[in-house]
């Protein structure tokens, strides 16, 4: 199937009643999650994970992808209107966005951001469409040893570049891997670390783990301070029209942000957040109006917002083509696919073309839906900001409890949610990174599977892990990144700004 045929086939998959509804529901939920403080895309996807189990694999993934990039759109609304980024990827947007709001340009800026997000998301979607099949074709050459290198190496890189110190990444990663070993072992059905508890034989439930780590821990931080949110200004539809000079100045940042975001999305780490920081710095370096950036320049919002959506979209490529999630949000999508019995990876294209092409086509349809939702419905999103904490927090907590319990009808999962929420709160206080824990938890069974298969097929010859050119190439890249910390050094520079702006939050 050629790329064009595949895309047309994907459009046929998406343009069904159920899948369109899934895209719309995901985009709506994602935007709301992005707007409201206390929930990020990771926790949002996790809460709605049980709902996606009842859908077809393609509809479930389309909905989760919609939540992920919808949250990037929504996160910018609070950043611009009340200087409170809904997502960590919108932190940079708040600097210039809020300055422009104070000058009475809120409506125009929101439109510039929505158009930029649309352009970044759509062009990145086209990139995913062209790049993923090539990547999948290449990955057909991979055997268990190569996949072991990719999963284990990717996890190691993620733990080192997620931010913070060596311990802040490796310790949570090891905890996530350890939690993934709880339950019945798949080959010999041996119970591991179940302590005789029947509910633990199926392992720790990912929805409970992630909602606790990301959702409850974040809500505890909100409760701790419980400051009154500043009242957002009202924005009417008429004010949403950007000025001609604003549009003219936004085009170059749109282009640069799209390219930057697309590349970041293909790499391990919190790509949407990182790319928005990188884009901001790039604009400060190359823009003709760089002296205005930081004091209310359109380039300071157009670039980062375009790039975070482009990154959120292109992060689907490694997931779809390799079956490797490089962030917590895509890790959840991988987990959901596995619940449906769909094994993501290079064979996804041939075994489940409806999932592969359906999701790719949904990236484009979803961005159109989001553009439609974000410009005319801006009043609705602004009104969400007026919901007081004492109404919003109980609602989210009950929703989280329903989400945790309903997957397996197990009270144990509800207690796991509470326990991991408290652990996540403390770890975040001490600047430990939570994404390696989630990705480690999801990748743990895959790493073990690939390791055992490789040893089995090589009759116990451990040199299988470093004998093929692909495995050598992957491990060399991992060693180089780990040793020289190329991405890490870049992240630190970017993180310097991030830490000054906000506490660590939900980076997908």
């Amino acid at each position: 199937m050629s790329t064009l045929d595949g895309f047309l086939y994907g459009l046929g998959v998406v343009l069904t009643y159920q899948n369109l509804l899934a895209a719309l529901a995901g985009a709506l939920a994602g935007t709301a999650i992005g707007v409201l403080p206390g929930l990020g895309p990771v926790a949002g996807i996790a809460i709605l994970l049980p709902v996606t189990y009842s859908l077809s694999p393609s509809a479930g993934l389309i909905m989760m992808a919609g939540i992920y990039y919808g949250a990037q759109y929504g996160g910018s609304t609070t950043a611009i209107l009340i200087n409170m980024p809904g997502e960590s990827s919108s932190v940079m947007t708040s600097i210039d966005g809020y300055q422009l709001t104070k000058r009475g340009r809120a409506g125009g800026v929101l439109s510039i951001v929505a158009i930029g997000s649309f352009i970044g998301g759509t062009l990145s979607g086209v990139g995913v469409m062209l790049f993923s099949p090539v990547l999948a074709d290449f990955a057909i050459l991979f055997g268990p040893a190569e996949f072991f290198a990719l999963t284990a190496g990717g996890l190691l890189i993620l733990s080192r570049i997620s931010g913070g110190s060596f311990a802040a990444g490796v310790f949570p990663m090891a905890i996530g891997l350890a939690l993934s070993t709880v339950g019945e072992e798949p080959v010999t059905a041996q119970n591991r670390f179940t302590f005789g508890v029947n509910d633990l034989r199926q392992g720790v439930e990912i929805a409970a783990l992630v909602v606790g780590l990301y959702g409850l821990a974040e809500i505890m931080s909100v409760v701790e301070e419980l400051r009154r949110r500043p009242k957002p200004i009202g924005v009417s539809l008429r004010e949403m029209l950007p000025r001609r000079d604003e549009i003219r100045r936004a085009w170059a940042p749109y282009g640069r942000g799209t390219v930057l975001g697309f590349i970041f999305g293909l790499l391990p780490g919190p790509s949407a957040t990182l790319s928005s920081f990188a884009s901001y710095r790039l604009e400060k370096a190359v823009s003709r109006y760089r002296h205005e950036i930081g004091h209310g320049a359109i380039e300071g919002v157009a670039g980062p917002e375009t790039s975070n959506n482009a990154a959120a979209t292109s992060s689907m490529a490694p997931l779809l083509a390799l079956g490797i999630p490089f962030g917590a949000s895509t890790a959840l999508m991988l987990a959901a696919l596995m619940v449906h019995g769909v094994q993501p990876g290079p064979l996804l294209l041939s075994n489940h073309p409806e999932v592969f092409w359906g999701v790719i086509a949904s990236l484009l349809i979803g961005n159109i839906v989001l553009l439609i939702l974000n410009i005319p419905l801006i009043g609705v999103w602004v009104s969400l900001l007026r919901i007081p904490n004492h109404v919003f927090l109980p609602l989210i907590l009950i929703l989280a409890a329903i989400g945790s319990y309903s997957v397996r009808n197990s009270m144990l999962d509800v207690y796991v949610f509470l326990l991991l929420g408290c652990i996540g709160y403390v770890l975040r206080k001490f600047d430990f990174e939570l994404a390696p824990m989630v990705v480690g938890f999801v990748l743990g069974p895959l790493i073990e599977k690939h390791m055992r298969e490789a040893l089995f097929m090589s009759l116990g010859d451990v040199s299988v892990f470093y004998s093929s050119p692909i495995a050598i190439g992957i491990w060399t890249s991992v060693l180089l990144i780990m040793a020289f910390g190329l991405q890490r050094a870049m992240f630190r520079r970017l993180l310097g700004i991030y830490r000054n702006r906000t506490a660590p939050g939900n980076s997908g």
């Binding site: 310790f171 990663m173 080959v187 670390f193 701790e224 329903i402 319990y405 009270m411």
Partner: protein
């Protein structure tokens, strides 16, 4: 907000120490599982590698704690902020204990009422009204419409 500062060093040493204990217990249990052979690895092999990583991560945490200057602090909530935070955790625990007995609708309504009172200064009748609206809506959407299975408790008869 007046916080209760905790030394970062103390936190890291405590987290690393707990990590070492967990790793020791984890490795102890892993050692009792079958090893298999290299050509057919048993259930113990992967947990032993993970246990090793946990030891490395925990020792790194202790090392970084040791190297952290005594002046570095992490702010934890104090006074009313701490009481409110602990109140939320306590209410959640109570909610989860009550959930199987009282069922989703009743326990959620009670939890919502108490949490709203904790987070606001609204009068009881308003709190009760909001709580019934919130939990009623969630019940209608998730349990009634989407058929999400939740404990029904005493209401199930």
């Amino acid at each position: 907000m007046s916080g209760a500062p905790v030394r970062k060093r103390t936190g890291y040493l405590a987290i690393g120490g707990i990590g070492v204990l967990l790793a020791a217990a984890y490795l102890g249990m892993a050692l009792q599982m079958p090893f298999g052979r290299l050509s057919q690895p048993g259930a113990a092999v992967f947990p032993l590698i993970v246990g090793g990583l946990l030891v490395v991560g925990s020792l790194a945490t202790i090392w970084e704690g040791w190297k952290t200057g005594p002046a570095e602090r992490v702010e934890f909530p104090a006074g009313a902020d701490r009481a409110r935070l602990l109140g939320v955790v306590g209410l959640l625990l109570g909610y989860f204990v009550a959930l199987p007995w009282l069922g989703q609708l009743l326990s959620s309504t009670l939890f919502c009422i108490l949490l709203m009172r904790l987070l606001s200064s609204l009068a009881w009748p308003r709190v009760a009204l909001y709580s019934i609206l919130i939990t009623g809506t969630l019940y209608a959407v998730f349990i009634h419409l989407l058929g999400v299975p939740m404990p029904r408790g005493v209401l199930a008869g």
